[in-house]
């Protein structure tokens, strides 16, 4: 089945220790998104790639970076995690355009100690 896969599902890191979250897709979608979701809140868009074009949200902290080495994979790098970065991180994909909607992965729950 075509899908969006996130690894790991649970990640524990220490304050200030860099961490990388992974997303892969078998949908062959052009667009890949990273969202941060804190408890009882809606997902907040951090950035997205349209093919190789990177689009950062204006309020995304510099601490958050992303890489998309190919169509299938996209990574979220948190350079120096703080306690406030503990959250669920969701990856999503879409074909681009308005009609299709976005398809979400299961998320990675990040804990910062």
């Amino acid at each position: 089945d075509a899908m969006v896969i996130q690894n790991p599902r649970y990640q524990v890191t220490q304050f200030g220790k860099p961490v990388t979250l992974s997303c892969s897709q078998t949908l062959n979608h052009n667009v890949m998104y990273w969202y941060q979701q804190k408890s009882s809140q809606a997902p907040k868009l951090l950035f997205h790639y349209y093919d190789k074009d990177f689009n950062n949200e204006a309020d995304t902290p510099d601490n958050f970076q992303s890489r998309r080495p190919n169509t299938s994979f996209c990574f979220l790098d948190i350079r120096s995690p703080g306690l406030g970065d503990a959250a669920m991180y969701l990856c999503a994909t879409s074909r681009g355009g308005r009609e299709g909607g976005q398809f979400f992965g299961p998320g990675t729950r990040l804990t910062v100690l």
Partner: protein
């Protein structure tokens, strides 16, 4: 600015009862609207979408939604709720560029037996 409002933070219904979750949008152009469901610790699953045509759209898991332009609403309904429907539900609209979902704050559904 585009916005999506879900007026109810929590809703509790009895198993077997009917359900309606409210969603209002503020949008200058033709809205493209979505409903997603999120079970605890999981990603978002697309229930249904509307962008044109019949204003009553059918989705997965027995859900439907009706688009009412005069009321700027896109309410989600289900005739008979099952305990497994307990989750958080997000209404969302896509922006005019097709690259960003605007989410409502979400409604948490509790199902009592």
């Amino acid at each position: 600015a585009q916005s999506v409002t879900q007026p109810d933070i929590h809703i509790t219904v009895s198993e077997g009862a009917s359900l309606e979750l409210r969603c209002n949008y503020s949008y200058g152009a033709t809205p493209y609207l979505f409903w997603y469901v999120q079970s605890p610790g999981q990603g978002l699953q697309l229930l249904l979408k509307y962008f044109s045509g019949d204003t009553l759209v059918q989705g997965i898991k027995g859900f439907e939604a009706e688009f009412k332009r005069s009321q700027s609403s896109f309410n989600l309904r289900k005739p008979s709720v099952h305990w497994s429907d307990a989750a958080e539900y997000f209404c969302a609209a896509i922006n005019i560029y097709g690259n960003k979902l605007v989410f409502g704050a979400g409604t948490i559904l509790r199902v009592k037996s």
